[in-house]
């Protein structure tokens, strides 16, 4: 405005400013969340493999792609113990007094969904399993009363914590057997080194007594992995190195194989289940989602870019979802309009698909470092 004198310029600016409302002072507050997890919210765990003392979990609204919050999980973070009511969860953590050295403390921390603030604690024996998280490394009983955590020192045991009394119940030896697969209100199965499975029962106050042991349930040359999926209150679906399906029921005196079939059929053409959390089950429709790739046995942990969808009742492949990018972990929301969640260890993104038609809906990027176990919101309680 070369023709304006300075005073005129100031007046013009003042007039222009008065045309919009002046910003008001703000107050800094902390966000709050719903009391219960909505059906399309999902927790994504990150073991932070490059910085393992800094494990964490991220809470994502998959309908909007918004990052809603997070919790810190300590060293070698496993996964959350999410109560079926969706309003609370516990986090088993390992901490050292000087970060990476000093005195070790294992602790179970209580959280409410509505504020994600750390609450009460239960100090645990400093023996919590350290390694990649799997579905069986820790689990709540279905009613949320007890948290059961697998220990490996390399002695094998489980720790039980009573979430109602907010107290440690104790540590119980499980020699030769590993992991926790709940099969009833006060019962779980474990996988043993010889291919058998062990039953364990909890007393009313949470003490563990070992129950019946099966004969070996799979060939150790083609063993079932620890990357299993629960398909009913008493049944778990296990997958062997060669993608055979073995369904084990834990409702009887000892674990029993009730179904055997194959994801890849008699002519697999190299197709194989792979990943860290390679399958997901949608209970309302009896639908299995399986991450598949082509490769030899040594690729059984590798990512896949196809998701094969099976009707578990007929054991037939009913459709296929071609992922936009490879995945090592998948999960499916529990509601009637299910979303498929997919992530790859080492790639900081969660991808969201329509689980029914396979259409990619959105991605959440800049999400952590080494994503592991995906935990959809519980639905129905």
């Amino acid at each position: 405005m070369p023709g304006l004198r300075p005073l005129t310029l100031v007046a013009a600016l003042l007039l222009a400013g008065s045309a919009t409302a002046q910003l008001v002072p703000e107050e800094l507050v902390v966000e709050s969340l719903p009391e219960k997890l909505p059906p399309h919210w999902v927790w994504v765990n990150d073991v932070a493999f490059f910085n393992m003392s800094d494990g964490r979990a991220y809470l994502i609204d998959a309908d909007t792609g918004r990052f809603m919050g997070m919790v810190s999980g300590g060293y070698s973070h496993l996964k959350l113990g999410i109560d079926r009511r969706g309003d609370r969860f516990v986090v088993p953590g390992t901490y050292y007094s000087r970060g990476t050295r000093g005195e070790r403390t294992d602790v179970l921390t209580f959280y409410a969904t509505k504020n994600l603030e750390p609450g009460s604690e239960i100090i645990l024996p400093p023996k919590k399993y350290s390694g990649l998280p799997f579905v069986g490394t820790s689990n709540l009983t279905d009613d949320g009363r007890f948290m059961i955590i697998y220990n490996f020192t390399p002695e094998q045991s489980v720790t039980v914590a009573d979430l109602e009394r907010k107290a440690l119940v104790g540590e119980f030896e499980t020699p030769g057997c590993a992991l926790i697969y709940p099969v009833g209100p006060r019962r779980f199965m474990m996988q043993c080194g010889d291919g058998s499975m062990q039953l364990a029962n909890l007393t009313a106050d949470g003490r563990v007594t070992l129950g019946g042991v099966s004969k070996p349930l799979w060939d150790l040359d083609n063993p079932a992995t620890e990357r299993a999926v629960r398909i009913s209150e008493s049944r778990w679906m296990f997958f062997t190195f060669d993608s055979d399906v073995i369904v084990v029921d834990g409702s009887g005196d000892q674990p029993k194989v009730v179904e055997k079939w194959s994801l890849v059929g008699p002519k697999p053409d190299g197709w194989r289940l792979g990943g860290l959390q390679p399958s997901a089950y949608h209970a309302a429709t009896g639908t299995l989602y399986a991450v598949m790739h082509q490769g030899g046995r040594e690729t059984r942990k590798d990512p896949g870019q196809q998701v094969w969808v099976f009707d578990v009742r007929t054991r037939k492949k009913i459709r296929q979802i071609d992922l936009a990018s490879p995945a090592t972990s998948i999960a499916v929301s529990e509601d009637a309009k299910p979303l498929l969640y997919a992530a790859q260890f080492g790639v900081p993104s969660l991808h969201v698909y329509d689980a029914l038609n396979g259409q990619k809906l959105r991605s959440i990027d800049q999400l952590g470092q080494t994503l592991t176990y995906i935990q959809p919101a519980p639905v129905g309680q």
């Binding site: 050295r101 070790r104 399993y129 080194g193 040594e298």
Partner: protein, 170 residues
């Protein structure tokens, strides 16, 4: 009992004889393997690199290196150590998982002990995951998804992984 089990059992028996944490290992019933870790925990730096033997070739800082057929983690060869030494200031794990890898130079299979080095944060270099003969974690003697910084004074904090030749597999 397959070959790997026999090897693990033999190693566990050796360990039960040689390591003071005898009760702990004996309870595993042959599941844990203990490597004899020569010259550890302290090896002089000038003697450190590359720690290869005359009868082998390849790049120990590459994931393709023959000894790494069942490894999972950060290669100590990229972290101040080597295939058979831990980086300065870390502590070798006395127990670990084992794999059986074929040396391309002589065509023989060797038992490799993947001892973790512990007590410092993850090195973060040369991440490598190969799963030839790897077992599920309920068969821990051959499982690489476990953190094997166990039985150490410094706790479970994992720094990197070695690949120590224990002997011929046959």
């Amino acid at each position: 009992m397959n070959r790997l089990d026999r090897i693990a059992e033999r190693l566990a028996r050796q360990a039960a004889r040689g390591i003071s944490r005898r009760g702990l290992l004996a309870r595993l019933g042959g599941l844990a393997a203990a490597a004899s870790v020569p010259a550890l925990p302290v090896a002089r730096a000038q003697a450190q690199t590359p720690k290869q033997q005359p009868g082998e070739k390849g790049d120990p800082s590459s994931c393709d290196y023959w000894r790494y057929c069942a490894i999972d983690g950060f290669l100590c060869s990229c972290c101040g150590g080597s295939v058979s030494t831990c980086p300065p200031g870390t502590e070798p794990s006395p127990i670990t998982w084992v794999g059986t890898c074929r040396n391309p130079v002589d065509g023989k299979d060797y038992v490799i002990s993947y001892n973790d080095c512990c007590g410092k944060a993850a090195c973060g270099r040369c991440i490598c995951n190969r799963n030839e003969g790897d077992t599920p974690i309920y068969q821990p003697q051959g499982a690489n998804d476990l953190n094997w910084c166990l039985g150490t004074q410094s706790g479970v904090v994992y720094n990197c992984s070695t690949a120590v030749v224990l002997g011929a597999a046959s």
